[in-house]
Amino acid sequence: MKDMLLYLLPIVILAVGGFSLMLVDAFQKEEGGLAIPTAMLHFASGAACLALWNYAGSPADLARAASAFNGWLAFDRTTLFLDLIIALGGGLASLLAGSYLNEHKLERGEFYTLITFASAGCMMLAGATDLIMVFIGLETMSLGVYAMTAFRRTNARSQEGALKYFLLGSFAAALLLYGSALLYGMTGHTDLAGIRAALAAPLDVPGLAAQEGGALALSVQQTVRDRVVILAMVLVIAGLAFKIGAVPFHMWVPDAYEGAPTPATAYMAVTVKAAAFGAMLRVLVGVFGDTTGAASLAGGWPGLLAWLAVASMVIGNLVALSQSSIKRMLAYSSIAHGGYILAAFVVTPRAELLPGGEGTVGQSAAASVLFYLLAYAVSNIGAFGALMLAGSRGKEAVSYDDVAGLGKRHPAVALALSFFILSLAGIPPMVGFFAKYNVIRSALEANYTWLAIALMVNSAIGVYYYLRVLVKMYMHDPAPGATRAEPMVSPGIWLTLIFTAVLVLVMGAMPQTFFGYALEAVKLAVAPVAAAATP
């Protein structure tokens, strides 16, 4: 029990903190003032992740934790790494929200409670090793995010986006639940380890083989089980791909991203993605990817995801090309980024050993996924933050024209925004470059040359629309007579921008170090997140 509390510390801090925020919000006389406490809660949770890092250093540690959790949650460095991304995203997003909501007269305490509970849900999802836990985490996360999307109550777009997100999200959750139910039905287990063990063994019904016609019946049932399991796998993929915003489950993304208040958009893009990818790593690799401990294609999910990856990149990028709103462009490009991450994800079941102690190809790929998530979190929150700072209540900066001449009007914001844009575009020495570089390397190491080429072509397309922001900022003047977006004054956003900008540069300067942490995180995991080497 004591152990469990320790292992749960990142989540417990957020959950208890969330309830406290509710009470404070209920009893305080005036609205507001909750942004800093919320951010502190998230950062405390992140600090807990850092502090616990060395508690997950050996198989013995993990075994102790596993027995405490009874197979519901994984306590390992993969979880901690993802939790850290979530805590970072949540904390920075609430810092942004403190200024944004005030400026736009949206300041109500619920937002902070929602974001805190959603973060707790994200962490549950990221660490879940049981299908029921996956569902609980997913729903805790989603409910908060739906409500945050609808937070601009008087704005029709916000309502529309939230409703679409909610309806389709329920649909996707139903798919996930249906898949989970089928898996349970076929194996009798909801915990991932149990499902994996059941699937690895041939079907056996006690006493059946001895009966007349029993052998045939058994073989039929085996066939039925195999088919249903594959279908269940596709359903689970669909449910999680929705949260990632992968094509063809991406339709809600632009509406929800555009409708949500900008801090919520930044939050959704980053943390929900991290959590959903975490769950996908555990479920797909843990159950289907690594049943033999060697390279496996597991009913074809890598091929399936490779197509999803390419479709996401292509559609995300092509549609982002034609956007006139930067916020919408970032939304579509988030689909494309999801595609890039999926490209590394595809490689995770490969067990060939890499030289230089980098583990297997699969482990390197899983580390690329984590590294990309971190890099994307930092760059994306920074980009949204800079965009937020560039406009105020009178006129928000959302379109390309709104940032025209920003380089002269507000050089500091423009500089910060260019860092993040360059990073998102994947231009060295920003961290985004190394994130893409790792993914491409992983794809090439596993001989997915076509996937790597697709990724490179798509990043080239991406560079086009990202650089348009820079061109607008530095080389264009605002159209005469156009209402100018006036930058707002906000220490909270400044703090976020400086923090993320420094991270973007530092991680770009020493990518090897951070990739090393990610690699450490995937090498020792409770439910495998990448193929280990064959002994």
Binding site: M22, G188, V205
Partner: protein, 137 residues
């Protein structure tokens, strides 16, 4: 590759052993239901005599014409109350199995239920303070 007939018969032979795989009858029931319902509709449509007049096509053949929108706006308070009811209703329902198993769950069960109730209480306090329980505002 065994055929469907083989499969179904095989399923029948093992009915007594494995409860987990006896979906055959369910599928058959569903199938019959669909066939019968469909057949009834089809028969009525194709065989029934038709003699439509404008009067007959009105929603209420002999009523007065309807006025206004068909949707009635209900106050959001109804929904709120309904939601709160569902939440606390489920709390009550959840307490029954816990109470009946109280002995075997031991201290851990007690602590967990207290935690659960605390959370709900915080929620109730929150609703109260935020004015969700007041009908007139």
């Amino acid at each position: 590759m065994p055929t469907l007939v083989q499969a179904l018969s095989a399923v029948e032979t093992v009915n007594s052993v494995s409860l987990r795989y006896q979906y055959g009858p369910i599928f058959m029931t569903v199938g019959f239901a669909l066939i019968i319902a469909g057949a009834v509709f089809a028969l009525a449509t194709f065989l029934g005599p038709k003699n439509p007049t404008p009067e007959k096509l009105l929603p209420y053949e002999s009523g007065s014409p309807t006025t206004g929108a068909k949707h009635v706006r209900l106050s959001v308070k109804f929904y709120l109350t309904a939601l709160l009811f569902v939440i606390f209703d489920i709390e009550a329902v959840f307490l029954y199995p816990w109470a009946s198993l109280y002995q075997s769950l031991g201290w851990a069960g007690f602590v967990e239920m207290i935690a659960f109730l605390t959370m709900l209480t915080i929620g109730l306090v929150y609703c109260w303070k935020k004015g969700a329980l007041e009908w007139e505002t």
